[in-house]
Amino acid sequence: MLKFEKRENIPLHLRILIPLISILLGVLIGGIAVMFSQVNPLTVYKAIFIGAFGSTYVFSETIVVAIPLLLISVGLILVFKMNYWNIGAYGQYIMGAIFSTYFALNSAETISRPILLMVMCIAGMVGGALWALIPAALKAYWKVNEVIATLLLNYIALYILQFLMYGPWRNPRSFGFPLTKIFDLNAQLPKLISHTRIHLGLIFGIIAAIIIWIIIKKTKFGYEIRVIGENEIAARYAGINIAKNIILAMVISGGLAGLAGMAQISGIIHMLQIEINPDYGYTAIIVAWLSGLNSLTAMIVSFFLGGLFAGASQIQMTMKVPIGIVGLIESSILFFLLGGAILTNYKLNYKGRKII
């Protein structure tokens, strides 16, 4: 008989091996799925790889995708560490984009570039933070399920964006298309590297990852978060204010998602429109989980999943392989990772003999 025995501490090699094996198996499942649609999986993966890392330009595009993933995921890590769930980065990202667009459209001529950009960053963070504050307060004071609340708020945010784009914010000169006017140069985040689209948001992301790492490891707030995540009842007895921590973590997380939304429209799209890639909010959940809720590891994982997305976007155009392959691979990796967690939590015995 197969028997499970609880592990006291997790060996380092398992902590590294399980995510790696999960990635390999997830990629394998993606390959099998591709085979069913009569395409050679090796050709597809080679094309994804070249589309993600094959030249300086595509490499820079991978980083462009990694920026919002990193910004959002490090915020999510803070919430997930507490064993609470923010599935609303999608909506918080949209709200960040909307709030910052207000200033881009109305203040571009009157304020100098550095100040306007700072105002837009703050507006983006405030927009995302407010949108996260709603489910956070509902959870903290009324115990409203935060998974459901954040998810529903995503749809509400999406329709607010649609309302603005088909209504008050549509540029009268866009021939009926739901677009604002192109932002003035004053409202565009500066590029970090010329001839690419890599923008200042990359620095924001790296700083955020480091700050979140410090918060979790070195501060009282981070300590309380970890205690709540491990045992909420014990945390309550220890006198930790759980409501305060939920709200603080959610607001920081929402603020970072909002900043990601701001960075995307100010640094990449240069206008507000309906398609501003809020799906990064869902992908970031996978980044957070795959990085083992470590914000420094999240930098590597964002880069990896950014490459997958950038490469798959390429082959969608060139080889007509649908972009759904990304979700398929990502979710398969998650399945293996979740299933594999049993090996980190338990020792496996078969007929009294140790396997792992």
């Binding site: 998974v147 607010i160 649609q162 996978i286 759904g324 299933g339």
Partner: protein, 313 residues
Amino acid sequence: MRPDAYAITIILLAATVESGTILLFPIIGEILTERSGILNLGIEGMMIIGALVGFATAFITGQIYWAFFMGMLAGGLASLIHAFISITLRGNQVVSGLALSIFGLGVTNFYGQEFVNLQLAHTVPQVIIPGLSQIPFFGSILFKQDYMVYLSYILVIITWFILFKTKTGIQLRAVGQNAQAADAMGVNVYKVRYFWTFFGGLMAGAGGAYLTLNCAPFWLDGITAGRGWVAIALVIFARWNPPYALIGAYLFGAINALQFQLQSMGTTIPSALLSMQPYFLTFILIIVATLLVKAKHIGVPKELGIPYAREEK
């Protein structure tokens, strides 16, 4: 009431039932899954898999009822991934459910490309129930529907009966309230949880298939449009009790039918704000429902989302 207003009311309420049925199936399924202690956030994914498999089967074979069955089965099979991870491997149920939703959306995007913008020649045929359909007002709303709608009525009654009036139901609830005690009484916790998780998947698949076979008989990427999340919210509104699921599902259905009617009548209200209403309503509903559940101390299965490990006794 003027005759035309009367007729419009009937049409609207009949549409309410149809639109509500898409949700009623998954809500009932998730109620029983959660009662057994398993939280499955993968409804959106299982629904859209059911929607695509149902649509594709109907498109290829022309057999509507066969298509409905296949859609249902596909949802059930998808739920087994979640069951294996959360029951056997004791993985995190929240993340596993989310992964299942991402999986469903990805896999249907991947395999659905060739069906995009295709339409079904025939949708689910209307079946008028003799006698009952003659009841003034309600007859035309409730009994001039189709077999799937009638199946949903029956399921509400059967699941309520199983849950509260049978030994199976006692065991199911016991597993969700206190798995260890249920185990001590000789109930196979794993088996019960597997079965009801699978049932939840079948129901989610049924809801998705009903969507593409009746209400929106074409294929588009992401066609379920968040209904799976709404269903999970309405489980809380239903306080884990099937008859209340009916109210939640039809409320959502009514708002949906109404906003759709307003849009097609060419109202001046911006369409984005109308489309938002079902989600906004659900958002308000779950706040109210949570407060009610808390005030009356009812509902929530105690071990919801907690894996059971037998040998740690």
